[in-house]
C-alpha cells in the first residue's frame, strides 16, 4: 500500500515536472531522481509520450470547420431550427447572413447597452418568435405559416422587400456620393426648416429625432421614393467612426405595426419597424448594437413627442 502511494506521489511529481508546474526546488529534486534512477527515466518518458499522444489525438478537431449554428450562437443570433432545415443550416455563412433574423425588442434593463446587443435581440426573439424579412423562401414560408392569407402575406413581403431594398440603396447612394452632396434640403442654421420643407411633400407631418446624444448631427433630408411612395430620408453624420453616417427613412405604410427587425442587405445594416401607419428604417454601416440603441431612441422620441 505504501508502495502504491509512493508511486502515485512519484507520478504526480513526474507529471507536474512535465507540465512545468514544479517550483525550482521540486524541479531539481525530480531531475536528480530521474538522472539517478533508470526506472524513473523510463517512467518519465512513458508519461511524456502519453501526454503527447493525448494532445495529438485531439489536434485535428481544432482544424475542423465550426458549424454555422455555433457561429450563430456565438454571435447571439438565432437560427430557427424549425423553419431552417438541415440543408439550410449547412449552407455557407454568406447565405446565412442573408437570412432574416427575427429580432425583438429586449426587455428593459437598468443598463441595456452593457450587454452585448445580440443577447438582447436573441432573448427578445425568444419572447415573440416572429419571423419576417428578406430571404426568399424563408421569408415566404414563415409568413405563410403565421398568417391566414398566404397571398396577401406574400404580396406584403414582396412589398417589404422592395421597401427595404430602396432604403438600403438610397443609403448607399448617399454614402458613395460623399458628404452632403445628394441632400435635397441641407440642415442650415435651423434643422427644423429642412424638415418642414420635406414634410410638405409627405402625406404626414414629420418629426425630427434628436440624435446628438449619440454624437450624430442632422445633416439634412432628402425626398425619396420607396416602393412607389414618397418618403423622407433623414441624414445624420458624425465624426465617430464607430457609428459613421446614418439615415432614417420614414414613409407612410398601410401595413400592420411590426416590431423592430434586423436585416442586412447591400452590405448595410438595417433596423426597420412599422408603427401607427408609418414605416421606419434606420440604415448604416455601424454595428447593429449601435443601430439598436439609436433605433430605440428614435422610436421613443417619435412615440413620446
Amino acid at each position: 500500500m505504501q508502495k502504491r502511494s509512493d508511486e502515485a506521489h512519484s507520478d504526480e511529481a513526474l507529471i507536474a515536472y512535465l507540465d512545468d508546474e514544479l517550483d525550482p526546488v521540486e524541479r531539481q529534486h525530480v531531475e536528480a531522481w530521474v538522472s539517478a534512477d533508470p526506472a524513473g527515466r523510463e517512467r518519465l518518458a512513458a508519461l511524456a509520450q502519453s501526454g503527447d499522444l493525448a494532445r495529438h489525438a485531439y489536434a485535428d478537431i481544432i482544424n475542423e470547420p465550426v458549424p454555422e449554428r455555433l457561429l450563430a450562437a456565438a454571435r447571439g443570433e438565432t437560427l430557427d431550427g424549425e423553419t431552417l432545415d438541415g440543408e439550410t443550416l449547412g449552407s455557407d455563412r454568406a447565405s446565412q447572413e442573408a437570412q432574416i433574423l427575427m429580432l425583438k425588442r429586449p426587455e428593459r434593463t437598468a443598463a441595456p447597452m452593457q450587454r452585448r446587443w445580440y443577447y438582447g435581440l436573441a432573448a427578445a426573439a425568444g419572447l415573440f418568435g416572429i419571423a419576417f424579412g428578406g430571404a426568399g423562401s424563408y421569408l415566404g414560408l414563415t409568413l405563410f405559416n403565421t398568417a391566414g392569407s398566404a397571398g396577401r402575406q406574400a404580396m406584403a413581403s414582396e412589398a417589404n422587400n422592395i421597401w427595404l431594398d430602396n432604403a438600403a440603396g438610397y443609403y448607399k447612394l448617399l454614402a458613395n456620393a460623399g458628404d452632403n452632396k445628394l441632400i435635397d434640403v441641407p440642415a442650415t442654421n435651423d434643422p427644423r426648416e429642412a424638415l418642414q420643407k420635406i414634410s410638405q411633400s409627405l402625406p404626414q407631418q414629420m418629426r425630427l429625432p434628436d440624435l446628438k446624444p449619440w454624437g450624430l448631427t442632422f445633416r439634412g433630408a432628402r425626398l425619396i421614393v420607396v416602393d412607389g411612395r414618397p418618403a423622407a430620408q433623414l441624414v445624420y453624420g458624425t465624426d465617430n467612426k464607430a457609428i459613421g453616417s446614418l439615415s432614417l427613412v420614414i414613409s407612410g405604410s398601410k401595413q400592420a405595426d411590426m416590431q423592430p427587425t434586423f436585416d442586412r442587405r447591400q452590405d448595410v445594416n438595417m433596423l426597420y419597424w412599422r408603427h401607427q401607419g408609418r414605416a421606419y428604417a434606420l440604415v448604416g454601416q455601424t454595428d447593429i448594437g449601435y443601430l439598436w440603441g439609436i433605433a430605440n431612441d428614435v422610436a421613443w422620441q417619435l412615440d413620446a413627442i
Partner: protein, 195 residues
C-alpha cells in the same frame, strides 16, 4: 399592440458603453469555439453532443457576459461554463453512473466502424481517453490537451489544485497503461472475444 419604447440609454453614457469590449467579447467567443468543441468532444465523446454543449455554453456566456472579468482568461471562463453545463446535464439525466456504460454500449454497437478506426493509432488514444472517468477525462482535456495550468484548471473545475494533480496523475497513468496494454479498442475487442 403597445409600441412604446422606453427612453434609450442616457446620452452621457455613450462613452461608457461597452460596445468595443462587447465586440471583443464576441470575437473572443468565436475565436475560442474550436477549442471549446475539442474540450466538449473530450467530455461528451460525441460530436453532436459536444456541439450541443458548446452552443449551450455560448448562449449562457452571452447571458452572463457582464460576469466576465476583463483581464482574466477568457478561454478558462468558457471552459468553466462548458464543464458546468456538462455536469448539470449529467446530473439532470442521472447518467453520471451510467456514463461509462453508455460508452461501452456505443463502442459495442459500432464495432465494424470501430475496428476500422482501430487501425489508426490516434483514434485508439481517443478511445483510451474515453474510458477514463469523467473527472479525470475533463482534467486531462483541460491541462494536457488545452494547456491550462493546474491553477487555472482548478478554477475551471472548482476543485483544489491538489485534486487536479491527483486526477491528472491517475488519468495519465491509466492512459499510459491502456496504451501499453494495447488498450482502447484492441483491448476491448480482445475482452469481448474472450467472453
Amino acid at each position: 399592440m403597445s409600441f412604446r419604447w422606453k427612453q434609450a440609454e442616457p446620452v452621457s453614457r455613450q462613452a461608457e458603453r461597452k460596445t468595443p469590449a462587447s465586440s471583443r467579447f464576441g470575437d473572443q467567443l468565436i475565436a475560442v469555439l474550436p477549442r471549446l468543441r475539442r474540450f466538449a468532444r473530450g467530455l461528451t465523446r460525441s460530436v453532436t453532443e459536444a456541439d450541443d454543449l458548446v452552443q449551450a455554453a455560448c448562449e449562457r456566456a452571452l447571458m452572463r457576459e457582464h460576469q466576465f472579468q476583463e483581464g482574466t482568461r477568457f478561454d478558462s471562463w468558457m471552459f468553466r461554463i462548458v464543464q458546468t453545463i456538462w455536469i448539470d446535464q449529467l446530473r439532470a439525466r442521472s447518467v453520471r453512473k451510467e456514463d461509462d456504460e453508455v460508452a461501452e454500449e456505443r463502442l459495442g454497437t459500432d464495432a465494424p466502424v470501430r475496428r476500422v478506426e482501430a487501425r489508426i493509432a490516434l483514434a485508439e488514444v481517443r478511445e483510451a481517453i474515453d474510458l477514463l472517468p469523467t473527472d479525470q477525462r475533463a482534467t486531462l482535456m483541460l491541462v494536457t490537451v488545452e494547456g491550462l495550468s493546474y491553477k487555472e484548471a482548478a478554477e475551471v473545475a472548482g476543485v483544489p489544485v491538489g485534486t487536479i494533480m491527483s486526477r491528472l496523475a491517475r488519468a495519465r497513468v491509466a492512459l499510459q497503461q491502456q496504451l501499453d496494454a494495447g488498450g482502447g479498442i484492441r483491448g476491448r475487442t480482445k475482452n469481448a472475444e474472450a467472453q
